[in-house]
């Protein structure tokens, strides 16, 4: 079925973006803008692939990817939170370091065959035509990314910890005055962002295209950052945005399948052009931006005394 395959492609294209963007949504809600997603993601991809390849265990690979993402995020956290360095510049540094380091680490893994993450296979259910494979035939990270949407909504808007995290992001001085540990909250949020980016990287190298190639994230970390803006920091909108994005990016391939002659390079540019268009559309709406943008986003916290 053509449609079934298209939808499956949309899901695999959307999942890494969704995972990474969810992590950043939480981090940005706490007031931290980490532009190093691309670097954390690519480190997750190489660590996941390398460990899965060496140990033969996919679970260990995923664990390594999460760890790599968290380690990278801790470097970012130390510089921006403890040393109060500029968040934009530090995020860029993280991306440059991640791309370089992953290339060096992964050099001996280029061209090695990888193992694809197993997909759910429930007797009878997965065999249902059209929807069976879509609903009951995905891998564990796809289900995790969907569950994460609910978890994040619950955490941010239904728990006390989530309220504190949002308070820290909206007004760190008030939160500090109320006795909350701004820096600790932000460290935790940044680490969550790192873990999710690492996971997104693992999805790329263990499920999307089970292999390692240099720079294999090809800008997805940046697209994830754009998605957070596009979703105006709301988890449900993020879910919709990621899938919409996945759909638009495969649109070109579908068109090509119907014999519409489009240069391959234009197709390949589509995700980036769509990202720009999405940013333009959403950022032009000032009311929407003002309502949800964390007020302290990107600002270092320096206690008054």
């Amino acid at each position: 079925m053509a449609i079934e395959n298209d939808i499956l492609t949309i899901i695999t294209a959307a999942t890494p973006l969704l995972l990474a963007a969810q992590g950043q949504l939480v981090a940005e809600r706490s007031g931290v803008l980490n532009l190093g997603v691309e670097g954390m993601m690519v480190m997750g991809a190489v660590a996941g692939f390398a460990v899965a390849n060496l140990t033969g265990s996919l679970s260990l690979g995923i664990a390594a990817a999460i760890l790599a993402g968290v380690m990278m995020s801790l470097i970012f956290g130390f510089l921006t939170l403890s040393l109060r360095a500029n968040q934009v510049a530090t995020g860029l540094a993280l991306t440059l370091l991640g791309l370089g380091l992953s290339g060096l680490i992964g050099e001996s893994f280029v061209g090695m065959p990888g193992e694809r993450m197993p997909q759910l296979d429930i007797p009878y259910l997965t065999d249902i035509p059209v929807i069976g494979k879509i609903i009951f035939g995905q891998d564990v990270l796809v289900y995790l990314s969907l569950a994460m949407t609910i978890i994040i909504i619950w955490f941010l808007f239904r728990t006390r910890a989530g309220l504190i995290l949002r308070a820290v992001g909206d007004n760190h001085h008030s939160a500090h005055a109320l006795g909350y540990h701004v820096i600790t909250v932000r460290y935790l949020a940044v680490m969550f962002g790192g873990a999710m980016s690492g996971l997104a990287g693992a999805y790329l190298s263990l499920a999307y295209t089970p292999s390692w190639t240099e720079n294999m994230t090809s800008g997805r970390g940046w697209i994830a950052l754009a998605l957070v803006v596009f979703a105006s920091w709301l988890p449900l909108r993020l879910l919709a945005g990621a899938y919409l994005f996945g759909a638009v990016t495969i649109l070109g391939f579908v068109a090509q399948g119907y014999g519409i002659g489009i240069p391959a390079q234009l197709l390949a540019s589509l995700p980036y052009l769509v990202t720009i268009a999405a940013l333009v559309v959403i950022s032009g709406n000032r009311n929407l931006m003002r309502a949800n943008t964390p007020a302290c986003l990107g600002q270092p916290f320096v206690p008054d005394r």
């Binding site: 860029l92 440059l96 370089g100 060096l104 950052l225 390079q265």
Partner: protein, 355 residues
């Protein structure tokens, strides 16, 4: 425990020392990385950072690599001072190369000094147009310039790829994705029998001119005020939007110039990959110069060494030249960390409290 204590004034000593400390820390880290790979750290560091300075050929190559880094880095230094985050210089470089290449590829028979001049102008214009897009989107729609400028890097690279595989592919190129070779006046004049080309002179002129702009002109003052205190700048009648446009056109144009100089200089034709990430490395150049355009003359050379050292390490040590990008990334972290020393003093907090 260690605590940061705000200094009364920025430390002038630290402002000069912090880049030096950062480079020193990078060397120590580099030594550790080499030692972990089973190499003698001192000998390996010598191969990496000293050998490129030891022969005439490699000194020339150093200048060839430093030229685009300085051209782009000097512009970025100003842009970042104004808090305008153009991180898409790599794309602007690419579009400069594409736009500039139009002349030598479409009118190869027009041979005149004017053709050379016009080719360079086209390169600058290409970079300015590509840089102008994020500025326009920022000013008109408030779209985040960091993300849009970065996205446009990928688009630019696909355009270049399309051109060299499609319309501009050299029919005599044995099916390789490359354009016809530039010839005659479309080749940048270079020093007798070397790869040293005009780009190095442009880099020096640009760094000095932008240094003067920042130090001596009202524009420079405007850029600094809007970067440090945007509200105060607005009360003074400075326009944020105008500065965004200015910075993007400036950095875009310079990146475009660097791009056309690369393809009309060391490379000599268009091909799918024309830069080893100069546009991104120039970000580090700008920060290592502590956002001082004049300083990029030094920091550009430092980063050029990291490229050359990578090649030397691959040949002499058997270490992948990818290590260059690791060193560059680590260096930027140390620079940012050391900048903290300028504004803050590190205090040990423990037994003794207070001042």
């Amino acid at each position: 425990m260690i605590r940061l204590e705000k200094r009364q004034e920025r430390s002038a000593t630290m402002a000069l020392l912090s880049p030096v400390i950062a480079v020193a820390l990078m060397l120590v880290t580099g030594g550790i990385i080499f030692a972990m790979r089973g190499l003698d750290p001192i000998a390996a560091l010598a191969v990496y950072f000293v050998e490129p300075l030891m022969s005439v050929w490699s000194l020339q190559e150093l200048v060839v690599k430093a030229a685009p880094l300085v051209l782009i880095g000097a512009g970025l230094a100003i842009s970042y001072t104004a808090n305008v985050w153009n991180i898409g210089a790599e794309g602007q470089l690419t579009m400069g190369a594409v736009a500039g290449a139009a002349l030598p590829l479409l009118f190869p028979d027009w041979q005149s000094p004017l053709a050379l001049f016009l080719m360079l102008m086209c390169g600058i214009a290409g970079g300015m147009i590509w840089g102008g897009i994020p500025a326009l989107l920022k000013n008109r729609f408030n779209a985040n310039e960091i993300l849009t400028s970065l996205m446009l890097v990928y688009v630019a690279q696909f355009i270049l790829d399309y051109m060299v595989r499609g319309p501009w592919r050299d029919p005599q190129g044995l099916n390789f994705p490359k354009s016809m070779n530039f010839a005659g006046w479309y080749i940048l004049p270079s020093l007798e029998a070397s790869r040293l080309h005009l780009g190095a002179i442009f880099a020096i002129i640009v760094a000095v001119a932008l240094g003067l702009l920042m130090a001596k002109t009202l524009k420079g003052y405007e850029i600094r005020v809007l970067g440090q205190a945007p509200r105060a700048g607005q009360f003074a009648g400075f326009s944020r939007k105008r500065i965004v446009t200015f910075c993007f056109l400036l950095t875009g144009g310079l990146a475009g110039l660097a791009g056309i100089c690369e393809v009309a200089g060391p490379i000599g034709h268009l091909q799918p990959s024309i830069s080893p990430g100069y546009g991104f490395t120039a970000i580090i150049v700008a920060f290592l110069a502590r956002l001082n355009p004049l300083g990029t003359l030094v920091s550009g050379v430092v980063l050029a060494i990291s490229y050359l050292g990578g090649e030397a390490a691959q040949i002499s040590l058997g270490v992948s030249d990818k290590i260059a990008r690791v060193f560059q990334g680590i260096l930027l972290f140390y620079i940012l960390a050391c900048d903290t020393l300028i504004l803050y003093r590190i205090r040990r907090v423990g037994a003794a409290h207070g001042h």
